[in-house]
């Protein structure tokens, strides 16, 4: 009968199964885990974090315990990577050194992200003269090499964990501020922001509830890409003697100490350097994976 003709051309829609819809999370996972290098990086990073957290359990010796009879011993079954000039076990110091590196890197990035995000948010949201001032200040800050700036600031304030974290954090602010500002400038144009404004939402409310959550993905990528740099910078600073103070184990300082014994005990310098490379590699691979997975152009595909 003519009236019974349906729009869908006779196909019984009810009997068909809807194709399974992938959630955003599933798509993210499938892109993120598609490269084996990224998975390797993830494993390394997780292992490094575990090592840092469980250092007391996992290290065979106390990293500060000096055994002067065993100074500068070669790798043996007793001391897997040998001992340094004061008889301290190298392997234990490397395990404990991961704490210093990770804490400084995380701390510095936290400082940089916090201050950078706030600066970028204010500059991007209010625009005009505020934008100009903040951006020029960021440009000025960006003219200083982070390591040099951290060297000066930490050198003035003295060594120690908090000062290094602050010094490095300040040096890293510019990239986050710029990124946040660019993000805010584009998110600001969205209709929901205009709607919130029209409804009378205060500036703080709009900024915190609407703009910040929508600017996040590139920031996460940026953070993960800079962790590696922060670890390298911390190692460089402790290599120069400005970083974490002895006797606390720090990889850069270990490389510096081992430098004197390069001919007889090369392990003393090579092992901590290798550790640095490995952890930085892990974080960089995660950063790459995150960048590919969070790429907005791939959203909705797959």
């Amino acid at each position: 009968m003519a009236m019974e003709e349906t729009v869908d051309g006779g196909v019984d829609v009810g009997a068909m199964e809807m194709p399974p819809r992938h959630s955003e999370f599933q798509r993210f996972c499938s892109v993120f885990f598609s490269r084996w290098l990224v998975i390797v990086g993830l494993v390394i990073t997780v292992a490094a974090i575990l090592l840092a957290v469980c250092a007391p359990i996992m290290s065979p010796y106390d990293p500060n315990k000096q055994d002067l009879e065993q100074r500068l011993s070669q790798p043996s079954r007793e001391h897997m990577l040998g001992t340094d000039a004061l008889g301290r076990d190298t392997l234990s110091r490397i395990i404990y050194g991961s704490r210093a590196s990770l804490m400084v890197a995380v701390g510095a990035l936290f400082v940089a992200t916090l201050i950078g995000v706030v600066m970028g948010l204010i500059a991007g949201y209010f625009g005009g003269i505020v934008y100009m001032f903040i951006m020029r200040f960021i440009d000025a800050l960006m003219a200083f090499p982070p390591i040099l700036l951290a060297l000066v600031i930490a050198g003035l304030l003295g060594g120690g964990l908090t000062n290094i974290v602050l010094a490095l954090g300040v040096g890293l602010i510019p990239s986050f501020a710029r990124l946040m500002c660019a993000q805010v400038l584009s998110v600001k144009e969205n209709d929901y922001v205009m709607a919130a404004h029209a409804m009378g939402a205060s500036n703080q409310r709009i900024m915190l509830l609407h703009i910040v959550p929508n600017s996040f993905p590139p920031l996460i990528v940026q953070v993960s890409l800079w962790v590696g740099f922060a670890i390298l910078a911390e190692a460089g600073l402790s290599f120069l003697g400005v970083g974490i103070q002895p006797p606390t184990a720090a990889w850069g300082a270990m490389v510096n100490d081992g430098y004197k014994y390069l001919l007889t005990n090369p392990v003393l310098s090579f092992a901590p350097g290798g550790a640095i490379m490995l952890v930085v590699f892990g974080f960089n691979m995660i950063g790459d994976g995150l960048r590919d997975a969070l790429d907005p152009r791939l959203r909705g595909k797959l």
Partner: protein, 318 residues
Amino acid sequence: MSGFIIRRLIQTVFVLILVTLIVFIVMRFLPGDPILLYLSEDQVRNFTPQQIAEVRHRFGLDNPIMVQYVDWIHGISHGDLGISMSYRIPVWEEVSRRVPITFYLGSIAFVASIIIGIPMGLVAAVRRGKWSDTVATLLANLGITVPVFWLGILMIYLFGLHLRWLPTFGYTSPIDNFWLSARQAIMPVICLSVFAIASSARQTRSAMLEVIQQDYIRTAWAKGLKEQVIIFRHALKNGLIPVVTLKGISLRNIFGGSVLVETVFNVPGMGRLAVDAMMSRDYAIVQGVILIIAVVVCLANLIVDISYGWLDPRIRYG
């Protein structure tokens, strides 16, 4: 275009003023009384408060902060950066002796990052997924993970101590003894360049990958143009735009790297000067060095911005 240049110039002047402010504030807010650093222990103990006040007045440290700042700026514009305490000579003299050295090594690293890094990234992007891409990407990723000072120590161990091919440290000017200078400079330059080349390659690769996926490239293929023409005539100019802007920033990374490389290889350049001065609390030199480095980076960014405007017409009118 000239309006663009003028605007950029004014902005750079403003940024330079902020740079001097930052340096001044960082250095002035150091813990401890600078007077006590100028005088020796004896003098501090034996001077009466009046004599100390006199010294303070002589160095102008009892003026309000703003006046001190203006005096300092005035001095800088006349080339007076203060007197170094460890070397007992004007800061400018010591620094100007070191600038050419750091400049020599740094510029080789910078040029290397352009002539090695960019083609590397280009090849990786164009031959994506093939063997050359995998190798290039792996090398680039390794390049940004290596700690610069560790690479230096590694090279010293291998080439200096074991194989004895190259001298392990020191620096000679190329004018004095070219062959020795070259042999001494190889390792520091390689260490300095590695990070720059690797990050150049990575940035070029991702920028070119983005460009290659554009529709106009597909149209060029459809038209039947040869691969070389497409890449060099169409893709490269657009792909290089983000890379060019990042080159300005890479300069400050090269300066940062020189701090470590010069320490490892005992090269008497600006980076080493900064470290040594920091250790011996010679704040006048530290102030001078970071000021000069920041100014150089600012000017380099200005040049980069202007060439960016020349490359991408959309920026000029923005």
